[in-house]
């Protein structure tokens, strides 16, 4: 391992600009002549629009234009799309209601887009929006996930009972048979609380149109600018694909919420041409709460069957998944193919059957949020496994160990084939780091102080490296999920890598450069990573699902192999040897068995000078591209152990210890990987203890600011003890599994298992706020009081 190669904790190249305030985020871009957009949003969760009078706004100071859904329709601008087709059990396609960028006829959630005001200043646009007169016929709303199909309220005409799909996976008959022969059945009812992703940078867009060239430019906070361009051109019809440049510069966190193609960027591009000015929109946090796609929101009943040996023999799950008022870009895939295929967890479970009802409600659209379906699956499995162990009177760690998959590859009953892993190794290491053997001692010490101490496990697995195109195509995806890379070697030997992945905090400018430095034997500062601009990078699928290492870097590795192969041809000419005798090692092309060799940079120069070979037998230049399509998902897995101490008098839960042992396969930069683990755990702890998006019965979001929605702060979290085990992934050339989502997937059941362990009963929901824990602690005390 070199100081900057694979496996080295290289300090990040991008940090120089971020720590000096020189990062360039979308809101930092100001285009000449720019005007400002402000969206009038629905204050009602559900209402028919009788009329919209924009006249009073049009005469307000500074107003350039006011547009409504009718204006978009007149220009034949299409609605927003959902790119993953799910079929119900009966074979019928999911019921996708219309999703206009600006409402037509009806609004369906608080924050739904009614009109846009474009003005000289943002303040003028906001002032004018208040002057728009909307005559609403307010309708009753449905907000509750479990009640969505049991109400006369109808969100979309296409779905009379608000059902989007009734989907299933697994083998029902085999599962029923397993339950029929079970010695013990454990049942659980769970709510996976609705979350707001809340990257600290709010979404933003600047649309621009050049009348001279007929070119459109969109600066946008996107995790996948090429997909945004494709959807905006091919489906929404804002601009032809080859005339639309989408730039996603520095992006301040995404966590899934910036994958999707939203109304605001659609309108900004379109309006820029209408008003002949660049149009800028920046979300404020209140708008973000209302209109960013939310995450999770499942209601689940699940049962686990075990035999007389404490072996899990069956799992059946019924989930109702709230998809909100409209189907967001990838929403339908999250509670289906990103959820049920993970229900086998790390366990050898011979029979699994899962039913999922996707439902509409009058709430913000729900889509992928860090983990996307996999945290929900892990919560079901790990809560059930823990509860089963307790009911059987078994140690939760050893119960898990007894049921672990140990032979690979392993085909689960829910369509996944796990390629490799060593789950017991992670468990052993986690037990050691967590000092599990002395837990009872610590628990007694807490009890002496009147505190309740508990310990909780989470033995998670996820499917990442999304994903083999053929596989996802057969499951309903509208696109393939490969990745592209282009490696451009300059005559001086420096290298630019153009990648279809997008970095919004992951540190690709460093890790990707480490790979190049390692493979080509050139200094890391001779490597630049280019991403986030459709005029520079030809195409790419973007960053989500912990895919950029396993898929994006594999594409780079493939392109590097081609560069080396071409370099060998050049070297053969220059060194006057046969190509078969050329070796590339430690950054030098040499003739085997001789001392004749040239550095990578020298060969690069020769490739461009081309004096030593004719263009007929070898093309000049050194530039290669590759598209890499993975052969399987990757399966990062690990064990997290959470130890809490609860003050029964206040209900405050303090996390005393957090142990994470993860198997991410080969690691490029351990510093960055550990950082990803930390951040993921924080979001998972946030879900378990603090966060919850709450709508009242009329559909008002009552947690619509950082005052009301409890984001994790430094004081809420401990320092984390992070360990690693490594089984290289056999499904990609680098052996990488992916690390971005693990913490968010692992953490919630670890926390709740610890709290329920401390309390001695299972009756606690997320978020386990001090109030909820205090109530639960009082309930736990009641039998004692009766004594």
């Amino acid at each position: 391992m070199t100081a900057t190669g694979i496996g080295a904790p290289v300090r990040r190249k991008e940090d120089q600009r971020f720590v000096t305030g020189q990062g360039r985020y979308v809101d930092d871009f100001n285009r000449p002549g720019q005007a400002y957009a402000y969206f009038l949003r629905s204050p009602h969760a559900h209402a028919a629009i009788r009329s919209i009078d924009t006249g009073p706004a049009m005469i307000m100071p500074g107003v350039i234009a006011v547009f409504t859904g009718d204006d978009l329709a007149a220009d034949k601008i299409g609605g927003l799309i959902c790119g993953w087709m799910i079929h119900s059990k009966d074979g019928s396609p999911m019921k996708a209601g219309p999703h206009p960028a600006l409402a037509q006829g009806k609004v369906r959630y608080v924050g739904d887009h009614l009109a846009v005001v474009i003005a000289e200043t943002l303040a003028q646009a906001k002032d004018a929006a208040e002057a728009i007169v909307v005559d609403y016929d307010v309708l009753p709303a449905v907000v509750d996930t479990a009640q969505a199909t049991k109400t006369p309220v109808q969100v979309h005409d296409v779905s009379p009972d608000n059902t989007v799909f009734n989907w299933h996976l697994g083998n029902k008959d085999e599962t029923e048979a397993a339950f029929a022969r079970a010695k013990h059945v454990t049942k659980i009812d769970l709510v996976n609380n609705r979350l707001v992703p809340n990257p600290i940078e709010p979404r933003a867009a600047v649309g621009e149109y050049d009348f001279g060239t007929d070119n459109y430019t969109l600066y946008t906070t996107s995790q996948n600018p090429h997909v945004a361009r494709l959807v905006l051109s091919a489906f929404i019809g804002v601009a032809p694909e080859h005339k639309l440049r989408v730039i996603a510069p520095d992006v301040g966190g995404g966590f899934g919420s910036k994958i999707f193609i939203y109304a605001e960027e659609t309108v900004c591009v379109w309006a820029a041409k209408k008003v002949k000015r660049p149009v800028k929109w920046t979300s404020d946090r209140s708008e973000a709460f209302l209109s960013d796609a939310h995450g999770r929101d499942h209601v689940t009943h699940a049962e686990m069957a075990t035999d007389e040996n404490g072996k899990i023999i069956g799992l059946r799950v019924h989930t109702t998944a709230n998809l909100g008022a409209y189907l967001s870009t990838f929403s339908s895939s999250v509670p289906t193919y990103l959820y049920a295929p993970l229900l086998s967890g790390q366990y050898d479970i011979p029979a699994i059957y899962c039913e999922v009802d996707g439902v509409y409600t009058n709430t913000a659209p729900v889509d992928a949020y860090r983990g996307a379906g996999r945290p929900e699956a892990t919560f079901v499995v790990e809560r059930l496994v823990e509860k089963t162990a307790r009911e059987l009177g078994q140690n939760p760690a050893e119960f898990r160990r007894r049921n672990y998959i140990t032979q690979f590859p392993h085909a689960t009953p829910v369509i996944m084939t796990y390629d490799t892993g060593d789950y017991a190794a992670s468990l052993d290491k986690a037990l050691e780091i967590a000092d599990y053997k002395n837990f009872e001692q610590r628990k007694q010490e807490s009890a002496r102080r009147g505190k309740l101490r508990g310990i909780g496990f989470s033995s998670y697995i996820e499917a990442c490296g999304i994903a083999p195109s053929q596989a996802v195509g057969s499951l309903g995806a509208g696109v393939g999920l490969w990745e592209s890379a282009e490696v451009r070697v300059n005559p001086t030997g420096s290298v630019e890598v153009l990648t279809g992945s997008h970095s919004h905090g992951q540190g690709h400018e460093t890790t990707f450069a480490q790979l190049v430095s390692d493979r080509l034997g050139i200094p890391i500062d001779q490597v630049s990573i280019v991403h986030g601009d459709t005029d520079k990078v030809q195409f790419g699928m973007g960053t989500y699902g912990s895919r950029s290492g396993a898929v994006g870097m594999s594409a780079i590795a493939k392109a590097i192999d081609k560069v080396i192969a071409k370099g060998k041809k050049v070297a053969a000419h220059v060194l006057e040897a046969s190509e078969g005798d050329i070796e590339f090692k430690d950054g030098r092309f040499g003739v085997a068995g001789t001392d004749r060799s040239m550095a990578f940079g020298e060969i690069a120069l020769q490739a461009y000078i081309a004096h030593k070979f004719s263009g007929q037998d070898l093309e000049p230049g050194l530039k290669e591209g590759a598209f890499y399509d993975p052969t399987n998902f990757t399966f990062p897995a690990g064990v997290h152990i959470c130890e809490v101490e609860i003050d029964p008098d206040t209900g405050v839960t303090k996390i005393e210890r957090w142990t994470a042992v993860d198997d991410f396969g080969v690691i490029i930069n351990p510093m960055i990987v550990e950082g990803q683990v930390h951040g993921g755990i924080a979001q998972g702890v946030g879900q378990a203890l603090l966060e919850g998006a709450v709508y009242d019965q009329s559909g008002q979001l009552i947690t619509a600011s950082f005052n009301d929605y409890c984001m994790p702060r430094a004081i809420d979290l401990p320092s984390f003890q992070v360990g690693m085990t490594v089984t290289p992934c056999p499904s990609n050339p680098l052996g990488i599994k992916g690390c971005g989502e693990a913490g968010a997937i692992a953490a919630p059941p670890a926390v709740i298992n610890a709290i329920t362990d401390a309390l001695g009963h299972e009756d606690i929901a997320m978020p386990a706020t001090p109030q909820a824990v205090w109530r639960a602690a009082q309930k736990a005390r009641m039998p004692m009081a009766a004594e």
Partner: protein, 164 residues
């Protein structure tokens, strides 16, 4: 319009502003100092923290006119002669940032913490004092390490503090 005159990162600035202009808008829009960020609208996230007369303030909750005749330091103004401020260097060294959006506010708050609490900071103090700054990426683990290290670094670079 109202005239404001102040010193920003050592430079004298005078401008006519709408009286409702926030200090963060003035910095970002008038002066194009875009390192100071806006992450919320309720003074909760701290992405906009700058120093006003040497003390940390949230520039989203300060009117530009309130900064009249004052000295403002932003993230762009703390490194000297091409050398990172010790707190900037510590955030880089300890991977105290990922997307970088909260980072300027974090660094400006961290310097203020050191100014108030000294150069030897324990974990508990740092976590409590970061109450006004939200980060969604790092889980704070490495930010806490960076602040502790940056505090030590500031003790060894008194010139940097004098520049504040």
């Amino acid at each position: 319009m109202t005239t404001v005159s102040l010193t920003v990162n050592g430079q004298s600035v005078t401008a006519d502003v709408d009286p409702r202009t926030l200090l963060v808008q003035f910095l970002r829009e008038n002066l194009r100092l875009t390192g100071t960020h806006v992450g919320c609208d309720t003074s909760q996230c701290g992405a906009c923290v700058v120093h006003l007369n040497g003390q940390a303030v949230k520039a989203c909750t300060t009117l530009a006119v309130q900064a009249n005749a004052s000295v403002v330091t932003t993230i762009e103004g703390i490194s000297q002669g091409g050398e990172l401020h010790p707190m900037q260097a510590a955030f880089r060294e300890h991977h105290g940032l990922q997307c970088g959006y909260c980072t300027p506010g974090m660094i400006m708050s961290a310097i203020d913490i050191v100014n108030r609490k000294g150069n030897t900071l324990d974990e508990r103090t740092i976590r409590a004092e970061l109450e006004g700054n939200l980060c969604r990426c790092t889980g704070y683990h490495n930010i806490v390490k960076a602040v502790a290290a940056g505090a030590q670094g500031m003790a060894q670079a008194p010139v940097q503090q004098a520049a504040e």
